[in-house]
């Protein structure tokens, strides 16, 4: 291991050896599967058997079905609504923690309070809304008891409303953490200078805090959009089967072994997500933020 001094400044195999396990896992369990999904999207299907040929029928059927466009529109709508809400929450929460909580101990404590649910089960966190929002749920019971409603509100559960609530509940963390990180790096002296120069609280936010936390905002946006676009279980459970998303439809196809059409759908979805991510990355240099 202990190379002669001169050699260490020239070529060394150390980084290649060190990065090999990571690269291997990523190639085998991410790269190859991704390629296979693309390949299978061109295969033909005979009842339940995959026939390795090259056909475009999966794509032509997908793109000629009006249902496809409804699903994609629905999924995009969810993504945009959830993105907007989590952005407001993420920014406000981070702003409070970074600029208003004075003690670093309190700051870390409250930050951890926001992150702990991330390390628990998403499925459980999702279904925990059911006893609250249901027809006989806590919310309806309270509304009726308070005289604010005379019959249970039906739209609370198994609706777009409950789907969005669950998404925001599950994913707002992915917005808070990156924004918090970029905000925590803002030099206090810059803000003090602005305040001394007579800037209002609002100008400080628009002219300093937002521009300096834009990498965090971009990173959070990528996570939230990708997570919502890729979700299938929240929309299945929380809409009570009344709504669907692209991946939810795909999971139904997979359940009945219709792999080639599902793969074609997957390729389309991945293309759209990649384009959205690429647009965000073009606007903001995310890599610098990530690699510290």
């Amino acid at each position: 291991m202990r190379a002669p001094q001169a050699a260490s400044s020239r070529f060394t195999s150390a980084p290649y050896v060190l990065v090999a396990p990571l690269a291997l896992v990523l190639v085998v369990f991410f790269g190859i599967p991704l390629v296979l999904v693309v390949v299978v999207s061109f295969f033909d299907l005979d009842k339940f058997d995959i026939i390795p040929t090259f056909v475009l029928t999966n794509y032509s059927e997908l793109l000629s079905s009006p249902l496809t466009y409804t699903l994609y529109a629905k999924t995009l709508k969810y993504a945009l609504i959830v993105w907007a809400i989590t952005l407001v929450i993420g920014f406000t929460v981070s702003y409070f923690l970074v600029f208003h909580v004075r003690s670093i101990l309190w700051q870390m404590g409250l930050f951890l309070l926001c992150t702990v649910p991330f390390w628990t089960s998403n499925v459980i966190r999702m279904i925990s809304w059911i006893p609250l929002l249901g027809r006989h749920g806590l919310l309806n019971q309270s509304l009726i008891a308070l005289g604010l409603a005379d019959h249970p509100l039906e739209f609370l559960l198994f609706s777009d409303f409950s789907v969005v609530i669950a998404y925001v509940h599950l994913f707002s963390l992915f917005m808070i953490v990156p924004i918090f990180n970029s905000m925590a790096r803002i030099e206090r002296t810059v803000i003090e200078a602005a305040v001394d120069g007579g800037a209002s609280r609002f100008r400080v936010i628009t002219d300093i805090v937002i521009p300096l936390s834009k990498t965090g905002i971009a990173l959070g946006s990528i996570f939230v959009i990708a997570l919502v676009m890729g979700d299938f279980f929240v929309v299945k459970v929380m809409s009570g089967g009344q709504s669907a998303s692209v991946v939810a439809a795909m999971s139904n196809e997979i359940a009945i072994l219709q792999y080639p059409p599902a793969a074609a759908n997957a390729v389309c979805l991945l293309t759209i997500v990649t384009l959205m991510v690429a647009v965000i990355m073009r606007v903001v240099d995310v890599r610098r933020e990530l690699s510290g």
Binding site: P15, H100, F111, I127, S128, P131, L227, L269, L290
Partner: protein, 305 residues
């Protein structure tokens, strides 16, 4: 900043504090409803009011009749999570060390990790499932599912290692080398101990993300379920508080793991802070690197994800 006067806080503080409190209630409120409802009496239903208080539904979990293979799936989940933890920690540390050098295809590996992170889980599972099908290998929780989960935990591990190394002061390493330590000695006795809090963070992510993983695991799991898949099956056909009891149990396990990780990080930090105070010399050289290396801001480290 805005609060420059030492007496009192501006009205925005109270407005934002109220917002934050509401958000925390929003985060934890629904979970606590589940915990309470899991103690329903034997005749209780899925919603409030409570119909007596009992441990009936926890007992029902172990009674096997309706809850499927709870014990088996639980032990599989724990075993798998420990496997994923060990692999995530080792591979992430190695990769973190690798990225301190310049090397060809560093950018490619980095972007592949990020792409793997934001890849929709079910699609990745589909791909892994197809790969095993074509290779003629039966998918199983310890092979295909393990690999699928690593594509989720490793990117987090890598990002945490980036954050940890970006605060690491190389002076310690150089000092060790000057004193004649070999490369692995420097790593084992100097670098890794300093990075320990961050490494515990990686372990926490490895364990919990695997233990609760669902979308990537659902297709390549093979014939024997992990706990989240068992829970998923229950959401569709179990309509009793047994589901909540299971949710309470699995969340309790998560909380124990989180508490253990955070407590050990806090203890390490405390010990370091004490030693620093004892050694005035240490403060000059290392105050910047040692206490802040990873632990105090482990939340932020985790956050770089």
């Amino acid at each position: 900043m805005v609060t420059r006067s030492s007496n009192g806080r501006p009205w925005t503080f109270y407005a934002l504090a109220a917002f934050f409190t509401l958000f925390v209630l929003f985060l934890y409120g629904p979970m606590s409803a589940i915990f309470i409802l899991s103690f329903q009496g034997p005749n209780g239903g899925l919603t409030f009011p409570m119909n007596g208080v009992s441990l009936h539904w926890f007992g029902a979990l172990f009674a096997q009749q309706r809850s499927g293979d709870f014990v088996g799936s639980f032990s599989r989940s724990i075993t798998l999570a420990i496997l994923v933890l060990v692999m995530t920690v080792v591979i992430s540390i190695m990769a973190g060390l690798a990225f301190r050098y310049r090397f060809a295809c560093a950018t490619a590996v980095f972007y592949m990790a990020i792409a793997s992170l934001i890849m929709p889980g079910l699609l990745l599972g589909l791909g892994v499932g197809l790969m095993f099908q074509f290779a003629g290998i039966r998918p199983a929780w310890f092979s295909s599912a393990l690999g699928a989960q690593l594509t989720w935990t490793l990117p987090f591990g890598l990002l945490i290692m980036f954050a940890v190394f970006s605060r690491f002061n190389r002076v310690y390493e150089e000092a060790a080398r000057d004193l004649g330590a070999r490369q692995w000695q420097t790593l084992w006795h100097v670098v890794l101990p300093i990075l320990l809090p961050g490494i515990i963070g990686v372990a926490l992510f490895g364990f919990t993300l695997s233990y609760d993983e669902f979308p990537r695991t659902v297709i390549p799991i093979g014939s024997r379920n992990t706990l989240p898949l068992e829970i998923w099956a229950m959401t569709t056909d179990v309509t009793s508080p047994a589901l909540y009891a299971l949710g309470t149990l699995t969340t309790a396990v998560s909380f124990v793991v989180i508490a253990a990780a955070l407590t050990s990080i806090a203890l390490i930090q405390r010990r370091r802070a004490r030693r620093q105070r004892g050694h005035p010399d240490a403060r000059r050289g290392g105050a910047e690197a040692l206490p802040r290396t990873a632990g105090v801001r482990v939340g932020a480290d985790a956050g770089d994800a």
